[in-house]
């Protein structure tokens, strides 16, 4: 059935990246409706994350006139207006309409200017789905970074900025890294800035949000010489394994930090001991394989019987990050089980 996943088009994917950069003006070359859809959704997420400023989006506000006569002059004029506000960078995103009428957006963006102007081809259906737009934007922005002297630090690559719990996930992965003495060099791209993107090449390791980012991880490895780990820490054992992998990649001693994390996990299991022996069913309709596996890991840990008539408990996809992510999830399971 063609009716799609509920994650938007390439445009939304790219905007989930460009609107995370301070002092970046994003131009959407298309009808105002395309921009409103995304402006409204991003505004909702910003409001939920206590951000005061709404995303800096400018629509070229294409009308029937441009559909007939072409929209390039309108884009040029909008670009000049955007540049007059002196942003650090301008990202120009095309839409289905611009792509269908054949506007040469790339040529307009390619004109040399003092402020970088990046064209991110996001012609809705023409560019693929949400993930393609997300990836295209990250690829385009990664060209701002230069290879630099490596320090003991990591970059976080491809955070899912539209996730409701994106800040909690960041705090958790930062906590785990901090427990091993590893600072975060750059978030690529979440609540970031152009200078932060430029220093991407100074980290010793890239930590990808999830395996869908592997192609980007590879290209960053080629361009900047930074190896990568495929995913944020997920699950009980996965969190400990993540710490081992980071330790190995950075050649640092982590046994003490891992022992502390294990102790934290044991304490968490004691806190939720009222769950023991309950009968549950995973309420997420089609949990992804990875999430389902992590759900079973928790079920085993608490001797839960997974049965179709059990109490409904969520197994979110993406799965919550780290030990504290599991703690929040277990509160929801506890509520589901009336435990």
């Amino acid at each position: 059935m063609p009716t799609p996943r509920d994650d938007g088009c390439t445009l939304t994917g790219a905007l989930s990246v460009t609107t995370e950069i301070r002092d970046c003006a994003t131009i959407i070359h298309g009808p105002a409706g395309c921009a409103h859809h995304n402006f409204s959704l991003l505004h909702a997420l910003h409001a939920a994350r206590d951000r005061v400023a709404p995303p800096a989006l400018i629509s070229t506000d294409m009308s029937e006139k441009e559909v007939i006569f072409g929209g390039e002059p309108l884009l040029e004029e909008t670009l000049l207006q955007a540049l007059s506000h002196h942003p650090e960078i301008v990202c120009v995103l095309s839409t289905c309409v611009a792509a269908t009428i054949g506007d040469d957006v790339e040529a307009i963006c390619h004109v040399p200017r003092t402020t970088p102007v990046l064209h991110i081809p996001t012609g809705g259906f023409l560019g693929g789905g949400f993930l393609s737009g997300h990836m295209e934007a990250l690829r385009a922005l990664s060209r701002l970074a230069a290879n630099g002297e490596k320090a003991l630090s990591v970059n976080l690559i491809g955070e899912k900025t539209l996730e409701y719990e994106v800040s909690e996930h960041f705090r958790e992965v930062s906590r785990i890294l901090q427990s091993m003495g590893v600072p975060v060099n750059a978030r690529f791209v979440c609540a970031t800035s152009v200078p932060e993107i430029r220093r991407l090449g100074n980290a010793s390791l890239n930590i990808l949000r999830d395996p869908s980012m592997v192609p980007l991880g590879r290209s960053l490895e080629d361009d900047l010489g930074i190896p990568f780990i495929e995913s944020f820490p997920l699950g009980i054992e996965g969190t400990l394994r993540f710490m081992e992998e980071v330790g190995e990649a950075l050649s640092i001693e982590t046994s003490h930090a891992i022992a502390n994390e294990e102790a934290l996990q044991h304490e968490m299991v004691r806190t939720f001991s009222s769950l023991k022996g309950k009968r549950v069913r995973f309420s997420t309709q089609y949990p992804a394989d990875g999430s389902s596996r992590l759900g079973y890991e928790l079920a085993d840990l608490f001797d839960l019987e997974v049965h179709e008539e059990g109490n409904p408990v969520p197994v979110p996809d993406p799965f919550p990050v780290g030990t504290n992510g599991i703690r929040r999830l277990l509160h929801r399971w506890k509520r589901g089980c009336h435990a």
Partner: protein
């Protein structure tokens, strides 16, 4: 005007989807890309379908994607409405002819031409509504339809409940609510209608008037009571005066301590005109400006068509009102003013219960919110 920084209002496609998804047994297919589908489906919380057009479809023709989607859902829906997004409209395929050739009389499929570049939300909503059959039934003379309901509007449930209650008090039966999920394409509708949103007047049934704002409501109630005299005028004789008495008392108390607020309203024009009327009547408020989301109508109070966030921000900074009525965009743009949410979107807050904006309870709720916001604002400042 090339720069439109942060467009505030949805396009015609979303309007058409908001209208059609408010009917039962209608399969709504958005003929476009996933992006065109994503916003309506996440904001309307109604089942919608999408052809998810790809670049291949654009090159080879979009018929196959459309047929595939319709075939998948045709067993579940008696009527199917296809909303054309920008791209099928641009490439100029004769979608109607293709559908006719494929389905003939076997399946009722209608096409709504509502590309985003050609008009805004209200236009799409009303265009879709005009395509529905909805025959008027003479047998429903004692019923009154309620129109102006939209799943996009955070007040639609409250408005429906409140106007249904008022119709019962007026001695009328509740007719068909347009468009809130209770009717099908060929459901009989009453020959009479009241409006909850003067910007979305359906044109179906003879109008008794609007239920938004006290001034309009008095007229509408009078017309209802003329038509249904058996109610004994309980609304105009008891309920309306009682509500006005309560509002007057609360506003009078407020004015004993505070100056009337200066106000900017932002939303659909005719609706904001009605709300502005109440603020002047009861609170002696000074209306500094009305920023209209849709093309302004000839109203009592001056208004401007403001389509983007930057425009709103500039207007609010220039006017510096004490009180802003609008959406969470306005709340964000000018956080130093007291704020009451009357326009979608209302983001960043949990909203569970059915709040009305229209009807007697809507008027009470509005004035209550205004007074509380103003009092809280005075405490802070």
């Amino acid at each position: 005007m090339p720069e439109c920084a942060g467009p505030l209002w949805p396009c015609g496609l979303t309007g058409a989807a908001a209208c059609l998804s408010g009917f039962q047994e209608i399969g709504v297919v958005i003929h476009g890309s996933e992006g065109c589908y994503f916003y309506p489906v996440t904001t309307l919380h109604a089942p919608l379908f999408c052809t998810s057009l790809s670049d291949e479809d654009i090159i080879l023709g979009t018929d196959e994607a459309l047929f595939r989607t319709i075939d998948d859902i045709s067993k579940n829906y008696r009527d199917i409405f296809v909303i054309l997004s920008c791209v099928p409209s641009i490439i100029g395929e004769d979608v109607r002819a293709s559908l006719e050739a494929r389905y003939g009389d076997d399946l009722m499929v209608q096409v709504i031409d509502s590309p985003g570049f050609s008009g805004e939300y209200e236009k799409g909503y009303l265009s879709a509504l005009s395509a529905l059959t909805l025959p008027e039934s003479e047998a429903m003379q004692d019923h009154v339809n309620i129109d102006g309901l939209s799943l996009l509007d955070p007040f639609w449930r409250g408005n429906l409940q409140e106007i249904a209650r008022m119709l019962r008090l007026a001695g009328a039966c509740c007719g068909v609510p347009l468009c809130s999920g209770d009717a099908g394409n060929d459901t009989d509708i009453a020959p009479w209608t009241v409006h909850t949103n003067p910007d979305l007047i359906s044109g179906r049934g003879s109008s008794f008037g609007s239920m938004l704002g006290m001034e309009a409501m008095r007229e509408t109630v009078r017309a209802l009571e003329d038509r249904f005299p058996d109610s004994g005028g309980v609304l105009s004789g008891r309920h309306l005066p009682l509500a006005e008495e309560r509002i007057n008392a609360a506003c009078d108390k407020y004015l004993r301590r505070f100056e009337p607020p200066t106000v900017v309203l932002s939303g659909q024009d005719a609706s904001m005109q009605a709300v502005a009327g109440m603020l002047i009547e009861y609170l002696d408020a000074e209306i500094l400006d009305i920023a209209s989301r849709n093309v302004p109508v000839e109203g009592k109070y001056p208004s401007r068509w403001v389509r983007d966030y930057e425009g709103i921000r500039e207007m609010l900074e220039q006017q510096a009102p004490d009180l802003v009525l609008g959406s969470s965009f306005e709340q964000t743009a000018f956080p130093s003013a007291a704020f009451v949410g009357v326009t979608p979107p209302l983001r960043g807050q949990v909203r569970l219960h059915a709040r009305p904006l229209a009807g007697i309870e809507g008027a009470l709720a509005l004035m209550e919110s205004v007074l509380n916001a103003c009092i809280d604002h005075q405490k802070v400042s």
